[in-house]
């Protein structure tokens, strides 16, 4: 009896000690929602790739492709599973639920969301649900970012049913039931566009970025860049939201379509970084000397006059380095961001004829790259290579370990990637 009654006090003291002795691990790998469980901090076992179907290629359908990426496996570097979901709807991004059991994958054209069970057997995902009510529930289309919060998924949409791009955030529960919609401000400094979501729960903050509407992202890129009026219809803002109220609090001018947002994962840091696609700049979101949140241009990626189009970034777990892929010139850049106010490029390599997404392992030793941006924005002819490439990073150079030609394998265009550990091997 005495032992039992003492246990709560003891447990509290243990918690108190550990809370100070061991900083809370910021859950990220390195771009997941901080609420995501079971980080893969060792060797990832599988890479899930959300691929766009290609007319005349294989079954022509969008599909989830699972690749064995464990070097010790007999099927290392091989496709071990594909799930076709039917049709082509501009497959784009994915996100895990908070328990990491399910992977939500969206399509930007028909706004369908596919939910895969990747937790039961990550080598053999199962399609368990299709959600198709986003436009009806919210007026938004183009579900882009899937960002887990406890028991729910926050979805960042790209556009609306009139296709001009004024959009918002939608919240669903983990059963796939719609809960609420939160418009991105389109007045008083806001432009209404949406793209990425990044939450810092300890600061009660959400950041969102802005891209463009359906009319632009579904249009042929060559035609689009020659349409001066259409080129004006891109996001030039980021929004800082109050996480608890889901209300916008501050709007930052960040010209040139700020896309992916990454919070520093280093304990004690409270800054985030993004890259602007059209202006090719790095922007820092941090606090100024008056403790006010602000957005500040801190660096340049490549030669902005050539519009290299930085499309994806990946921050290291220690927040010292940032990978940046520039689509048009097919280059992968590494920036030293240990001083986030002054990023310095320390490495650059051409990794493809066109490169889009980039994902690094938690330890930073492995880097994965895919090629497809959007079906109508990808290059044409011989430059339209569609590959997944896996590299080792030794601190000085990227070394190609394997590549999969998605066209040759009749898989389509590879876009977003997510890791899974082997069952039972992920860090709790």
């Amino acid at each position: 009896m005495k032992r039992l009654v003492a246990r709560p006090l003891l447990a509290g003291l243990v918690v108190a000690a550990l809370a100070v002795a061991a900083p809370l691990a910021r859950a990220d790998e390195t771009c997941l929602s901080p609420y995501t469980a079971a980080l893969v901090k060792g060797q990832e076992a599988y890479l899930h790739v959300w691929a766009l179907g290609e007319k005349g290629l294989g079954d022509e359908s969008d599909k989830l492709v699972t690749v064995d990426v464990d070097p010790k496996s007999k099927t290392y570097g091989k496709v071990v599973n594909t799930i076709s979901v039917g049709g082509r709807g501009e497959a784009h991004h994915m996100g895990f639920t908070d328990d990491r059991k399910y992977l939500w994958a969206g399509r930007l054209d028909d706004s369908k969301i596919f939910v895969f069970d990747v937790g039961t057997d990550p080598s053999n995902p199962k399609l368990i649900q299709t959600i198709d009510d986003l436009p009806d529930q919210t007026g938004y289309v183009g579900p882009h970012t899937f960002y887990a919060i406890p028991g729910r998924m926050v979805i960042g949409a790209l556009s609306n049913t009139t296709h001009d791009g004024v959009t918002g955030l939608a919240v669903y529960n983990n059963k796939g039931e719609f809960l609420s919609a939160h418009p991105i401000p389109s007045e008083n400094g806001g432009d209404g566009y949406g793209y990425d979501i990044a939450i810092n729960p300890k600061k009660n903050v959400i950041l969102t970025s802005s891209f463009t509407g359906w009319n632009n992202y579904m249009r042929d890129l060559g035609q689009l860049v020659n349409d001066a009026e259409a080129m004006q219809n891109f996001g030039n803002t980021m929004v800082l939201w109050n996480l608890k109220s889901m209300q916008p609090e501050k709007i930052f001018a960040v010209p040139g379509a700020p896309l992916e947002i990454r919070w520093s994962l280093k304990e004690g840091d409270d800054w985030a970084i993004t890259a602007t696609a059209l202006t090719s700049k790095l922007w820092l979101i941090s606090r100024d000397e008056k403790n006010e949140w602000r957005a500040k241009e801190v660096g340049t990626i490549g030669d902005p006059s050539k519009i290299p189009l930085p499309v994806d970034i990946s921050i290291s777990a220690d927040a010292k380095n940032l990978w940046v892929n520039t689509f048009m010139d097919g280059k992968t850049h590494l920036f030293d961001i240990s001083d986030p106010e002054h990023p310095v490029q320390i490495y650059e390599k051409t990794t493809g004829k066109q490169v889009n997404m980039i994902s690094q392992s938690w330890d930073g030793k492995r880097v994965y790259i895919t090629s497809s941006l959007l079906a109508n924005w990808d290059k044409k002819g011989a430059d339209n290579e569609q590959v997944l490439r896996a590299y080792d990073w030794d601190g000085k150079d990227l070394h190609l370990k394997f590549e999969i030609d998605f066209f040759k394998e009749k898989l389509g265009r590879p876009h977003h990637m997510k890791f899974s550990g082997a069952v039972g091997k992920a860090s709790p």
Binding site: P8, L13, D99, V171, L179, V205, Q232, D270
Partner: protein
């Protein structure tokens, strides 16, 4: 020696040194953006808390809804031998802090119930958990704290599924002290009608936020008035006109 005991004693001195710091409300030093005033924001109806059979004090079956309706409820899964500093121990600490905070808020006393539901029905029997309940019954008028179990894993499983709580037995860590359950810490805020309205994790388990959310639910239910003007922290109204920012963006794009 149990896992919790093995961890506890070497850290006891450090814990005592740290207590003054930890006793500060999290929001003061943590959240840079102020939480919105109670009643000024809406909490989603995430889902209805599941139905099921649970046990308290004895082996007489009770509906879980007895503990999830009729009062605002904070419910978390736990097990008595848990020593995970990022798991149920955090929930335990948060519930104790919340209870202490409620003692300073007479207007909220008797409005909230606390519920712990064990993941380990084999070891956490009604008799075992009864000792915990008795240890906390002194402040039941502030916020009763119920320690619930189930007949077996068979009865527990549908509750876990219903709440969306995934668990796995960590066989490598389990030993004499009992099984170790890997699980994601979730504390469910449930309204009087039995709907989950917020879910706190180890990233967001903040007593200040919990108090605001409780007060928000009371205001929503008409059981409490907004007793101070709601001052929105939203800065949108003070921002420059939309056109100015758009023009600035377009000008820089042209450059």
């Amino acid at each position: 020696m149990s896992r919790s005991r093995a961890l506890a004693w070497p850290l006891l001195a450090a814990a005592l040194l740290c207590l003054p710091t930890l006793s500060r409300p999290h929001a003061e030093g943590g959240a840079l953006l102020a939480y919105p005033a109670p009643g000024s924001y809406r909490l989603d109806h995430i889902q209805r808390a599941p139905q099921g059979i649970v046990l308290e004090d004895n082996y007489f079956p009770r509906l879980l809804s007895r503990y999830t309706t009729g009062s605002i409820t904070l419910l978390s899964f736990f097990y008595s031998s848990c020593a995970d500093p990022q798991g149920c121990s955090l929930a335990w600490e948060a519930f104790e802090k919340l209870r202490a905070a409620l003692k300073e808020r007479p207007d909220l006393q008797g409005q909230v119930r606390l519920v712990f539901l064990t993941l380990d029905p084999a070891r956490d029997t009604p008799d075992t958990l009864g000792a915990f309940a008795r240890a906390y019954e002194a402040d039941a008028a502030v916020a009763p704290w119920h320690f619930l179990t189930t007949y077996s894993d068979f009865f527990l499983a549908p509750l876990l599924r219903g709440f969306g709580e995934e668990i796995a037995v960590d066989r490598s860590a389990s030993g004499e002290g009992g099984p170790v359950f890997n699980h994601l810490l979730k504390v469910f805020l449930i309204d009087r009608e039995g709907f989950e309205r917020e879910i706190y994790s180890n990233q967001s388990l903040d007593v200040a936020a919990m108090l605001n959310d409780i007060e928000t639910l009371l205001i929503e239910a008409g059981r409490r008035q907004i007793d101070r003007p709601v001052v929105s922290d939203c800065l949108l109204a003070r921002k420059a006109p939309q056109a100015r920012l758009r023009d600035e963006g377009k000008r820089r794009l042209r450059e």
